[in-house]
């Protein structure tokens, strides 16, 4: 009897503990998200956000001017974002794995190298975009200077302005900035591997590459999968880096940059909200798919 009373008291206090957090979260996340979705069905304008009419699904599709789903600029942004995500996350995973494997060895100076690897992660995105913007400068950039010195290129490349290299530049900066995050997550996974398997493999004389593909990779795979999904969801909403490095250029415009341009620069709250809602839906579907497929132990009951 006393036990259930105690449980009830604890449940009551748990509810009280959760309430303030839930109220704040509803105010700063739930309500604005709901309003964004609401605005996507209207023709609201930024200068007079109170005056709007319902136009149904016209922002998404209509026979008059097409709407979002028949806007080539939107599909260009979708394609850019997907391309950016696939290429940068793949590169970050491979490089992150290499860095993690190297840092998992014991060698003199390991602590210093691990600290050095954290530096790109610690630098604010805007700062790294500006730093690289300067290094990639077409006339005075150190990268052109080095590449020309070695003879790889014969004349300076306008990395961020040239349509062929702009996305490459964005990917390069993102890979530099985020590989440490990947490497550290994978390293944490590597350090939890049981050492007795390795001992056995060494005694049996299994070649190193087989140890890697048959033992290390399968064991560390869950850690890699989690890191990849986190990075992919993060890359799909990329804004800062692209906005600062290449501004509103068509060649690199991501979904987030497109939505903000419609919303703020063109003041079209209705249409911009429609784009933002689409991006939200894409990420929501992927998140749910991840949780369903990965069967994430959310409540921690299986522990």
């Amino acid at each position: 009897m006393k036990g259930s009373e105690l449980t009830r008291a604890r449940l009551r206090s748990a509810f009280l503990f959760l309430l303030p957090m839930m109220v704040v979260l509803a105010l700063v996340a739930g309500w604005p998200l709901g309003r964004t979705i609401f605005f996507s069905f209207t023709n609201a304008n930024l200068s007079e956000i109170e005056n709007f009419e319902f136009i149904g699904l016209a922002n998404f599709y209509n026979s008059e001017w097409g709407g979002l789903l028949s806007d080539p600029a939107w599909w260009n942004a979708v394609w850019n974002t997907v391309w950016f995500t696939v290429v940068s996350v793949s590169l970050e995973t491979v490089l992150g794995l290499i860095v993690a494997l190297a840092l998992n060895m014991s060698f003199p100076g390991r602590g210093i190298v691990r600290a050095a690897v954290l530096i790109p992660w610690a630098i604010p995105t805007i700062v790294s975009a500006k730093m690289w913007g300067w290094m990639l400068h077409d006339q005075f950039g150190v990268l052109n200077y080095m590449l020309m010195g070695v003879g790889i290129i014969s004349e300076p490349i306008a990395w961020t302005a040239n349509p062929d290299t702009a996305m490459l530049a964005v990917i390069m900066v993102d890979v530099w900035k985020t590989t440490p995050f990947m490497a550290l997550l994978i390293l944490a996974g590597l350090q939890m591997l049981p050492s007795d398997c390795y001992e056995a493999a060494r005694v049996d004389g299994v070649p190193a590459w087989q140890v890697f593909f048959k033992l290390t990779l399968p064991l560390v795979y869950p850690a890699i999968a989690v890191a990849v999904i986190f990075r992919a969801l993060d890359s799909l909403r990329i804004f800062d880096l692209i906005y600062v490095l290449t501004s509103n250029s068509e060649d690199t415009m991501s979904m987030s940059v497109y939505a903000r341009q419609q919303l703020v620069d063109f003041q079209d709250v209705g249409y911009g909200s429609a784009a933002a809602t689409m991006l939200f839906l894409i990420i929501a579907v992927l998140t749910i798919a991840y949780i369903m497929i990965g069967r994430v132990d959310l409540a921690g009951d299986k522990r």
Partner: protein, 276 residues
């Protein structure tokens, strides 16, 4: 590594050297550039001189001290609120069994996956309605969406790892749940609080999209927006020396913090990623 052949050892050290150079060089080059006078800036050299011209100019040509203060105020307030709300919420989520707990955690996790742009128009309307457009209050409100779900999530992960006996003994002695949190959990939890607070601070300090959209005047900008919007005489003539000086000023404290707390940060990042 002891049984490796000599070429393998040399190859390994070349790889390590390449990793370290790749990580450090861009920031090193930013430091070198920040100490160059405008005329020296256009010759590539890797050895720093000591010319503080750009550092003086950053503070003279825009309210950069004010921008730094803005960033500190917003980040500190947001982190304090997030930790305050997060500790009690995480206690309930980690230590009490109730129906719908999994769903609630799922919601919190999804909020931290939100694309910021998805709340932009709704947040803009809310900020206008509350009369806090172009003020630090508006930025604090908006930044909570970045730090609060993250704080709750990471603290919940940390609290789950604590042994059950810890609180049971206190309950037997007649402690209330609030006393359990502050007298029993807090003393063992403070390393987690430092880590979570630091990571949330970095998130708020680096926030760009909200600060860009919800502020208008130079005096209300935070550091990332101020740096992104530094302009020179014409559109094609960016004062790169000033930009690099400003970048170095705001990055050095962050790098020191991260290096001092590096072990804790790695633990926090690992806890932030869901363990499947």
């Amino acid at each position: 590594m002891t049984h490796w052949s000599l070429p393998a050892k040399i190859g390994f050290y070349i790889l390590i050297l390449a990793i370290a150079l790749f990580a450090i060089f861009p920031f090193y080059y930013a430091i070198v550039s920040s100490f160059k006078s405008p005329s020296e800036l256009f010759e590539v050299s890797l050895i720093p001189s000591l010319n503080f011209e750009n550092y003086v100019a950053v503070f003279r040509e825009q309210p950069f001290a004010r921008n730094i203060l803005n960033s500190v105020i917003v980040a500190v307030v947001v982190v304090t609120i997030s930790l305050g709300l997060g500790v009690t919420a995480a206690f309930a989520l980690a230590r009490v069994h109730f129906r719908g707990r999994g769903l609630l955690l799922l919601t919190i996790l999804s909020v931290s996956m939100f694309p910021q742009v998805a709340v932009l128009s709704g947040m803009f309307e809310l900020i206008r309605f509350l009369g806090v457009y172009n003020s630090l209050w508006g930025l604090m409100l908006a930044n909570l969406i970045l730090t609060l779900p993250f704080t709750v999530w990471v603290l919940t992960t940390f609290m789950r790892q604590l042994p059950k006996e810890l609180e049971e003994a206190a309950y037997v002695d007649g402690a209330t749940p609030l006393e359990v949190i502050f007298k029993v959990f807090m003393p063992v939890l403070w390393p987690a609080l430092v880590t979570t607070g630091l990571l949330a601070f970095i998130a708020a300090w680096n926030e760009f999209l909200f600060a860009l959209t919800f502020t208008l005047s130079n005096e209300m900008r935070t550091v990332p927006v101020a740096i992104a919007l530094i302009t020179g005489g014409s559109q094609y003539e960016l004062p790169w020396g000033n930009i690099m000086a400003a970048s170095v000023i705001v990055t050095v404290p962050l790098i020191i913090l991260v290096l001092v707390f590096q072990r804790k940060i790695i633990g926090g990042l690992t806890a932030g990623a869901v363990k499947g």
